[in-house]
Symmetry: C2
Subunit: 210 residues, 2 copies
Amino acid sequence: MISIGIIEDNDVLRSSLQLLFENSGRFQVAFSLHDARNLLAETELHMPRLLLMDIDMPGINGIDAVKLVKKDFPTVDIIMFTVFEDDEKIFRSVMAGASGYLLKKIPPEKLLEALDDFVQGGAPMTGSIATRVLEMFRKQTQQTAATFNLSARELEILTSLSSGKTYRLIAGERFLSVETVRSHVKNIYEKLHVHSKAEAVAKAFREKLI
Amino acid sequence: MISIGIIEDNDVLRSSLQLLFENSGRFQVAFSLHDARNLLAETELHMPRLLLMDIDMPGINGIDAVKLVKKDFPTVDIIMFTVFEDDEKIFRSVMAGASGYLLKKIPPEKLLEALDDFVQGGAPMTGSIATRVLEMFRKQTQQTAATFNLSARELEILTSLSSGKTYRLIAGERFLSVETVRSHVKNIYEKLHVHSKAEAVAKAFREKLI
DNA sequence: CTTAAAACCCCCTAAACGGGGGATAATTTG
DNA sequence: CAAATTATCCCCCGTTTAGGGGGTTTTAAG
C-alpha cells in the first residue's frame, strides 16, 4: 500500500481523488487537505510516501508548499497535480523539488498507473528518461545568488554590469555616487573571486546568478 | 494506420519490431532498414509518419541520421529507440531534432502505446509536458557562432575576453600584437552590436556563443 | 581576376576601470 | 546588546579600454 497525501482546494475533486485512491487497493490516503496550512504537521504525523499537490490554492501556493515540505522532509516525493501547462509553472515546480508533474485532465486509471509507475522508480511523465530531464534542469539552475552571498544591491549592480553599463551610468540610475558603485563592485569581485567586469559577467552567467 | 519506418541494425530486434507493428492493426511498416544508408531515399519514397531510430549503428549513427532526415523532411517525426540512457545522447538527439526517446527495455505493448500516444499529440516520455521540456532544451542551445558570422579567431578572442583576460594577455598567449587583438575586438563589437567587454561577454553567453 | 573578408599591425586620446587606502550610519544577526 | 554586515561615501594612481584614425597581406568567393 502506498501512502499518499492530497492537497487540493477543490472539494469535489479532492473527494473524488480520495475515493479513487481508497478503492484502488493500492493506495491509502494519509491525509487530504484543502490548503497547505497544516501540511507540515500532517506530513510529520503520517509521513506519506508521496504528496499530490495542487498549485493554485488559497494561502500558500503549491510551489512554495513544495519548498517547505522538501526542506523538512526531503524523502517525501511530491507530484504536482494541476491544470497549468505552462513552462514557467513546470520549471518552478521542478526547481522547488517536485518529482513529477501531472495534469488534471489525466484519466483516473492513468493517474493511478502513473503514480504506481513513479513509486517503482519511474517518473510520472515517463520512465527513467523524464527523470533525467528533470535532473538536468535542476542542475542547470540550481545555485542562486545565495551561494555567493551577494546582497540585493550587489545583485542589482551585477545585473547592470552585465548589460554593459559603466559605473557612472549605474550610479545615475540608482542615485548613488560613482564611488559607491565602485565599492560595491569591489565587494562583488571579492565574493565571486574575480578581478574584472568581464569575469564577473561570465561568472554571473555560468552560475546562473542572472 | 500509422506508417512507420524502422532503422535498427540488430536483425532479430528489427524483425520483431516489424512483426509487432504489422500485427498491431494500428501501425504499418513503410520500410525497415539495417542502417541509415538508404534512409533518405526510402523516406522520400514512402513518406512515413514517423521513424523509429536506433542510435548505435554501423556507418552513419542515429543522431546524424536524424539531422539528415530533418533537414530534408522536417515533417517526419523521429523517435530514438536505444539502449543508451545517458544525458549526452538524449541531449544530442533532441538537439538534432528527435521528437522522442524510448528505451529498448520498454515492453512491446508499451511501445505501441507510447507511439500511439505520440501521434495523438503527446510525446513518448509522457503527455504534453515532456514535449515542452524538450522544446525548452531545444531553445536553450540553438543558435551558434554562425549567427553572428564570427570568425574562428574572433570566437577565440571572445572566449578569452570572457575569462577576464586583458588584451595584453591574449596577445601574449596567441603571439599577436596587442593592436591586432584590439582590432579583432573592434570587429567583434561591431558584429555583436555591443560597445564593451562586459556587454560582449553577456551577449556571448546569452546567445550561447560560448 | 577582382572583390571582399579575415588576419595582421600601428598611433592617439579620453574615458573607464581595478586596486589600494579609509570612513560613517544603518541594519541584521547571534 | 554587541558584533558583523551592508550601504553609503571619498581619494589616489597606474592600467586598460573604446573609439577614432591609418595600413598590409593572405585567403575565399564571386
